[in-house]
Each structure stands twice: as structure tokens, then as C-alpha cells.
């Protein structure tokens, strides 16, 4: 059934000569690999949380509701930059995909107002699936971008929403790619892979559309004011610019200066403790006397307390220094020289020679980060430390004084700060 040809439903409403299946196909060709990398590294991050180990369940309580736990094996503790790389890629590709996604949606917007709106049951079903594709994609990208800027306006739990929102998008995307592949092939056959990029303004003609498909090619286009080369160049530059900004906070060093608008490009000075902080001491409400001279590290097995150490006693043990990155789930990382006691040495002190798991308890009251469980490979790695010092100075309160966990390739949120108790099993 046809709607009246009014407004956006009318044939002559969408008049840009640049829209059409070729432009949509080019944008998709660039967008798809970015989304693929972003999705894979996103699932890698879920894996890195080792949600099936100990108290690591990220939502819905122990053992229930941890997403697709198909991984079945532990997140490795080497190479040390593994999580910095995967999560950096996740955030960089995600942010870089935004201009491409917007351009793609601009290209195909006439299809939203297709007339007649429903041609057949097949068409209706496909359009229903597109609601989930567009809604899932916009939601997943928007929630991610909002979350890395530490704005929490959602009122719902971010992690399951972002995780399952991505699955909604990917399920709809997979079938969309399958169904549209013939359109893409036809568009590239008709116009050439890159030939339209060489047209100057005088030779920029409207896309003719494809005889066997309904496409976003215009009816009655206006004269062009832009070449396809300029449009795609602009979108590409925007994407590259955003990627560069976010790369600055992943790689750090001189590149950090490029992170002008990215949230974590800024240190606080040049001192040993002035690298970026995820959560300051002031933000977590630990009473000051708990981190004073009366602080003791408690070493436990699941059944009993095995030892109690002061900070001086810890400093008198064999100390190890390791250059390790700490990488945040928000996509930024920073490499520092950490000094502390090996976790394996503390395990032996607790009488556990071959630890399977380590449950770390912070003095932080409540919150999701007050506790985390490390897997066997993480506890036994020679560079897995209970750090007491960084860059030759005592840890600052903001970086977890009196002691914090630092383990190669462990997500930053699991490098628990203000450690009070270690339970080896």
C-alpha cells in the first residue's frame, strides 16, 4: 500500500546527487572491518575479565548471567601489553567508526521513508531487522562513547546493556551483510570500485540506481556542490582525526598531546605518581586511618588467616621492579616502573605453594571494584606484583597506597588498589 507522496515519502524529497548504492557500498567496505575489530576486541575484553573465575561475575551474581562464556580458558598474562592493545583498539576503532556510521546513515536515509513502506512479508521482516540494526548500532556506539567520558546518565547497568546491545547489532548486521552483498557487487560492477573518486565537479552525476534493487539513489537530484572524492575525503579525515585523538591516550608519550579532547590524555605533572588516575582516593570513601601506620596486609586461605604483614615487613622482602602498562577498560593506558613483592612469594608465605586462584579484597567500601579474582597464570607470573612503589617513590594514595595489584595484561579495573586482604586457594 502506497502512502501519499508527501514530505520525505515523496519521490523528489531526497535530492542529493551523491546518495546511492555505490556510496553506501564504499562506506560499508570501510565501516565493516572497523566494526569487526571493535566487536572482537570487545568480546576479548569480556574474556579478559575472566567472569567464570571466583568473584569476577560482572553482572547478575556468581555463575549467572555472564554473557556468552564460550571462551573456556583463562586470559593470559603475557605479552604484558595485550590488554592495552586489545582495549585500545576497541576504543579507537569504535570512535573512528562514528563518522562512517553517520555518513552511511545519511546515505541510506531515503530508505527509511520508502514508499510503499511494506512491499511484501519479506520486505516487512527485513525492515524490522533494520530497526534492530540501526537501534543496536546507535545505542552501542553512543553508550560506549558516553561511558569512556565517565558520564553515567543511563539509570541502567552499562556493562550488560553495552554487551547485549552489541549482540543485537551484530545479529542484525550479519544478515544485513548477507542480504545486501548482491547490491554491493552490482553497485561496484556498475560504477567501478574507485572510478567515481576521480570525477571532478563537472562530471559528478547522480547515481542512476540499480534496475533490480530498490536503492537510495535519488529521483530528480539537484546539481552537485560536492564531489564524491571530497565527501569521502572529509568523512575519512574526520574518522582519522578521531582515531588519532584516541590513539594519543592509548599509546601515551608524545602522542598523548594529540588527545586534545579524549578524556585521558592528561597527566597531572612530571612527578613519579603524576600519571593518570582512574579513580582517586577521594572518590572511594576509605577512612584515612585504614591506610595509616596501622595498616596490615592479611594473607588468607579460604579457611583461615595465615599471616599478617606491615608495610615495612613487605618492603623487607625480596622486591622486584617491572615496567608494566596499566590499561583501562576505557581505552587508555600508561606504562610505569612498579616495585613490589611477587604474588607467588606471598602465596608461599600463606602456605599455598601452587595457588590456583587469588581473591583480592580492597579496603574500598562497596562498589564493583572492591574485589577481584586472578587466575592461576596471573598469580604465578614472575612480574605479578603486590606493588608498593612506583617509579622509585612510594605509591600515592590515588594510585593505591599502601599496596596495589599489578599484573601483566590484566585489565586496569582488576589491578585492585588499597589492598587489605589476599585469599589464596
Amino acid at each position: 500500500m502506497r502512502l501519499p507522496d508527501v514530505g520525505p515519502f515523496g519521490e523528489g524529497f531526497w535530492r542529493s546527487p551523491l546518495r546511492g548504492p555505490w556510496l553506501a557500498s564504499v562506506l560499508s567496505t570501510v565501516l565493516l572491518p572497523l566494526i569487526a575489530v571493535c566487536a572482537l576486541t570487545g568480546f576479548a575484553s569480556h574474556w579478559a575479565y575472566d567472569t567464570d573465575v571466583g568473584a569476577n561475575a560482572v553482572w547478575g551474581g556468581a555463575a549467572a548471567g555472564n554473557g556468552f562464556d564460550l571462551y573456556g580458558f583463562d586470559w593470559p598474562a603475557s605479552p604484558p601489553w595485550l590488554y592495552a592493545a586489545t582495549q585500545g583498539l576497541h576504543v579507537v576503532t569504535g570512535v573512528a567508526a562514528i563518522p562512517l556510521l553517520l555518513a552511511k546513515l545519511w546515505t541510506v536515509i531515503p530508505k527509511l521513508f520508502e514508499n510503499p513502506p511494506l512491499r511484501s512479508p519479506a520486505h516487512a521482516l527485513e525492515r524490522l531487522s533494520l530497526v534492530f540494526l540501526v537501534g543496536g548500532a546507535l545505542f552501542t556506539f553512543a553508550s560506549g562513547v558516553i561511558n569512556i567520558q565517565l558520564w553515567y546518565p543511563f539509570g541502567f547497568s552499562f556493562v550488560p546493556a553495552h554487551y547485549y546491545g552489541a549482540i543485537v547489532m551484530l545479529a542484525a548486521l550479519l544478515v544485513h551483510v548477507g542480504l545486501k552483498l548482491p547490491v554491493m557487487v552490482a553497485a561496484f560492477r556498475q560504477r567501478g570500485l574507485t572510478a567515481p573518486l576521480r570525477e571532478d565537479l563537472d562530471h559528478t552525476e547522480p547515481e542512476p540506481g540499480l534496475p533490480e534493487f530498490h536503492t537510495s539513489a535519488p529521483h530528480g537530484a539537484v546539481a552537485p556542490t560536492l564531489t564524491r572524492r571530497a565527501l569521502l575525503g572529509g568523512v575519512g579525515a574526520a574518522s582519522a582525526g578521531l582515531a588519532l585523538m584516541t590513539t594519543g591516550q592509548v599509546v601515551g608519550g608524545p602522542l598523548a598531546d594529540l588527545a586534545v579532547l579524549a578524556p585521558r590524555g592528561r597527566g597531572r605533572g612530571d612527578g613519579p605518581n603524576d600519571f593518570p588516575v582512574n579513580k582517586t582516593f577521594a572518590a572511594v570513601n576509605i577512612p584515612a586511618d585504614k591506610v595509616g601506620p596501622d595498616w596490615r596486609l592479611l594473607l588468607h586461605t579460604p579457611d583461615e588467616r595465615r599471616a599478617e604483614l606491615t608495610r615495612d615487613e613487605l618492603l623487607a622482602m625480596e622486591l622486584v621492579t617491572a615496567e608494566l602498562p596499566i590499561a583501562c577498560v576505557e581505552g587508555w593506558s600508561t606504562t610505569q616502573a612498579w616495585t613490589g613483592v611477587r604474588l607467588s612469594a606471598l602465596a608461599r608465605l600463606a602456605g599455598v605453594d601452587e595457588p590456583r586462584e587469588l581473591d583480592v579484597r580492597s579496603m574500598q567500601p562497596g562498589g564493583s571494584l572492591d574485589r577481584s579474582t586472578l587466575n592461576r597464570g596471573q598469580v604465578t607470573h614472575p612480574d605479578a606484583l603486590l606493588a608498593l612503589r612506583v617509579n622509585g617513590a612510594d605509591l600515592s594514595l590515588d594510585h593505591g597506597y599502601p599496596a596495589r595489584i599489578i599484573v601483566p595484561a590484566l585489565p586496569g579495573v582488576k589491578c585492585t588498589k588499597w589492598v587489605g586482604k589476599l585469599v589464596f586457594s
Partner: protein
């Protein structure tokens, strides 16, 4: 088989693929609604993201683009010079708008309190940086336009 095609509008594989995909979508949606606090707000966000993009953001920037084109180009198309002027205006405008869209929580300030508290940073620089960056983009675009000016005049 031909009867199916006529009634459904595509082959059976089309139907199977879409049903499988929609089943995964339904599963993922139900899991997210079950696991999150305030599931109704999640639905509002998912539906709202479509409305916000398709019916607010896109019409907004498209309308601004049309207004700029109508203001700069005489009806029936403009000279090369005028078209170039339009483009040297809309490129920095779109870039600046994109930066605002992506980094709005930091630039616009809703994230300010949590961000400052959690990061320990004391100075909110993002609004200033966005303004400076936007000004630089417009200035750069104007400078390139000035360099092209002669060639563009000759071209008309």
C-alpha cells in the same frame, strides 16, 4: 516453491536467515532487560537513539546545510567560487559539530563532576579546547579558500 516466493516476496533462505537473526536479537534483548536495573530505561535509550538520530540530528544538520546552500547559491546552481565558499564553510562546521557530538559529555559538562572526582584533574579544559579547535578548523578552511580564490575566479 514459486508459490512461496510469490506470497513471501523472497526465497526461503531469506526467511530462515532473518528468523535466525531475529531470534538472536530477541534473546540478547531479553537478557539485557533481565540483567539490568531499570530495564524500561534501557528500552527508552535504544528506541530513543533511533529517534534522536533519524528524526532530530539528521534533519537538523541537513536543514542547516540547505539553509547555507540557499543563502550562498543563487537558484539554479552557483559559480565555482560560491560552491567552494559553501564547502569551505560546511566542512569545518561539520567537523566542529562532530567533535561536539562525540565529546559532548566532557565539552558540555554533564560528566564534569564525576570526571573531576574520579580522575583527580582540577581544570576543566574541554570546552576551551573545543572552541579553540573549532576556530582553528574554520581559520584553516578560510586560509585554504583564500589560496584557491584566484584560481576559482578564473574558473568562472
Amino acid at each position: 516453491m514459486q508459490g512461496f516466493r510469490e506470497r513471501y516476496g523472497a526465497g526461503p533462505l531469506h526467511l530462515l536467515a532473518l528468523l535466525a537473526s531475529l531470534a538472536v536479537v530477541a534473546y540478547a534483548l531479553s537478557r539485557s532487560l533481565e540483567l539490568t536495573s531499570n530495564p524500561e530505561r534501557l528500552l527508552v535509550w535504544m528506541g530513543g537513539s533511533i529517534v534522536a538520530h533519524d528524526f532530530v540530528l539528521l534533519p537538523l544538520y541537513a536543514t542547516l546545510g540547505v539553509i547555507a546552500a540557499v543563502a550562498l547559491l543563487p537558484s539554479g546552481g552557483g559559480s565555482r567560487l560560491r560552491i567552494a565558499a559553501l564547502n569551505h564553510l560546511r566542512f569545518p562546521a561539520l567537523a566542529s559539530g562532530l567533535l561536539l557530538l562525540v565529546w559532548y559529555p566532557l565539552i558540555g559538562g554533564p560528566a564534569e563532576r564525576t570526571f573531576m572526582r574520579n580522575s583527580g584533574l582540577t581544570k576543566d579544559v574541554y570546552l576551551d579546547r573545543w572552541i579553540i579547535l573549532s576556530a582553528a578548523l574554520f581559520a584553516l578552511s578560510a586560509a585554504v579558500f583564500a589560496l584557491r580564490y584566484r584560481g576559482l575566479r578564473r574558473g568562472t
